[in-house]
């Protein structure tokens, strides 16, 4: 089972490669499961055939934590757990792994390292700040991937308890606080970097636009996305700049 670990891990890096609305990341999971299921093919061909079908069924989670599910499901196949039970585990893991990953990575680590990079940029570190952020992020992300696959393979059907007792749920508030702090620092610094050397009038216009945009977002709710508002505001400013006598 562990002989295909490295290949499965590398394949997990493209787990969303064939993302679709029908199976979501199911194909990517089946693709990554194949090396791990090779030993089962020799030991129990009938079980292997069933496992291969199951491995590519519907699945969705945060891509970096998909290894937890993959490892657990493969381990369950080797443990001869009945198929319907494996299907239930697959379904049960979708929500928690998606939620944990989104909170830790998308809402936590990504804004934290990007906020840190903006602070570094404002401090004059330029490209080094960005390279440092990319290296730090990928170190955490790749190490988490190894941990996820190992933990899944070690715990099989008991993955839920193992996940609950792991470092991940405890790290969520810490990474969230770091993201809050660093993004908070980055916002005024970002404004300063973008409007460096420009007349006070530009700072007044930018600040006024920001307040109007925040108010519009608050009043209109999700219908007015920041991108839509941004496009409309930039288009309006262009029209004004062109038509002003």
């Amino acid at each position: 089972m562990t002989s295909g670990f490295t290949r499965a891990y590398l394949r997990l890096l493209s787990v969303q490669g064939a993302w679709n609305f029908e199976r979501m990341t199911g194909i990517g999971m089946g693709y990554a499961a194949e090396p791990l299921l090779e030993d089962l093919k020799a030991a129990d061909p009938a079980r292997h055939a069933e496992a291969a079908v199951r491995s590519a069924e519907y699945f969705n989670s945060h891509p970096y934590l998909a290894g937890l599910a993959l490892g657990a499901l493969v381990r369950a196949e080797y443990d001869q757990v009945p198929g319907p039970q494996i299907d239930r585990l697959r379904t049960a893991l979708t929500g928690p792994l998606g939620s944990l990953g989104d909170q830790f990575f998308w809402a936590g680590l990504v804004p934290a390292v990007i906020g840190g990079a903006v602070v570094g940029l404002a401090a004059g570190y330029g490209w080094w700040a960005i390279a440092g952020a990319v290296l730090l992020y990928n170190a955490v992300r790749l190490a988490t991937g190894v941990w996820a696959l190992r933990t899944g393979l070690a715990h099989g059907m008991k993955i839920g308890a193992a996940l609950g007792a792991s470092w991940l749920p405890h790290a969520l508030p810490r990474v969230g606080h770091a993201a809050g702090l660093l993004v908070g620092i980055a916002l005024p610094l970002g404004l300063a970097v973008l409007l460096e050397g420009q007349p006070p009038r530009s700072i007044v216009i930018a600040t006024g636009t920001m307040l109007v945009a925040l108010l519009a977002g608050w009043r209109a709710g999700p219908h007015v996305t920041s991108v839509r508002f941004g496009l409309a505001a930039i288009g309006g400013a262009l029209a004004l700049a062109w038509s002003w006598p």
Partner: protein, 225 residues
């Protein structure tokens, strides 16, 4: 404005394609974040400051949207590379706003192309239904590789469109002081996007206090620069 050397153009298209594929398919290594994509494009163009500024402007918009699950989100990578091309060669305080608007437009187009790609992947799935029902490894490989190839193609086409349009726009952009207004408005909306996203993510718990403390510290640091 002088045309870009073919090697630089090829480098930009390649980098932009990598950034587009990185968003969802492979390897999701932060390369598709506007700040990173913009910095790379700036280096390739020999305009590192333009790359960082356009990247930072779009990064503020990107901080508002989480790329979760089946959610619709813009594909900023190729748009940012196009934006850096628009901004290059001119005075940044004039070109930055137009470059940001252009990058946003392409990013929205990229978001639509992702939805189309997902539907194409669904059709491929139906074509290979029999093999998938049998758990055939070769079929799973074929569907996976087709998905990756389709995303590379999507990203490449988007990159060519983005950079081609940017070159056209760059040569026609007037050097008028009036464009400073567009830059100021673009910066204001970008900052609102990031602030709105940060406040929503913070909720009402301790993270909001950390955000407020950070904003205070950031204001102090910005004043002392």
């Amino acid at each position: 404005m002088s045309p870009l050397p073919p090697a630089v153009l090829a480098g930009l298209v390649g980098w932009s394609t990598v950034a587009g594929v990185d968003l969802v398919s492979f390897p999701q290594a932060l390369l598709s974040r506007p700040l990173v994509t913009g910095a790379g494009a700036g280096l390739l163009l020999g305009e590192p400051v333009a790359g960082l500024q356009v990247g930072l402007l779009l990064e503020l918009f990107a901080l508002d949207v989480l790329p979760v699950g089946a959610a619709r989100y813009p594909d900023y990578g190729p748009g940012v590379v196009g934006g850096v091309v628009v901004a290059s060669g001119g005075a940044l305080h004039l070109t930055l706003g137009v470059a940001g608007g252009y990058a946003l437009l392409v990013a929205v187009l990229g978001g639509w192309s992702l939805q189309a790609l997902r539907r194409v992947n669904g059709r491929v799935l139906q074509r290979y239904a029999a093999g998938l029902a049998a758990g055939d490894a070769a079929t799973i490989h074929a569907v996976q590789y087709r998905g990756l190839a389709a995303d590379i193609t999507r990203s490449l086409v988007l990159s060519v469109v983005s950079i081609g349009g940017a070159l056209w726009l760059r040569d026609r952009l007037p050097a008028t002081d009036r464009l400073a207004l567009v830059t100021a408005v673009a910066v204001g909306t970008a900052l609102a996007a990031a602030a709105g996203g940060a406040i929503r993510s913070a909720g009402r718990d301790a993270r909001l206090r950390w955000l407020a403390a950070g904003a205070g510290l950031g204001l102090l640091m910005a004043a002392l620069r």
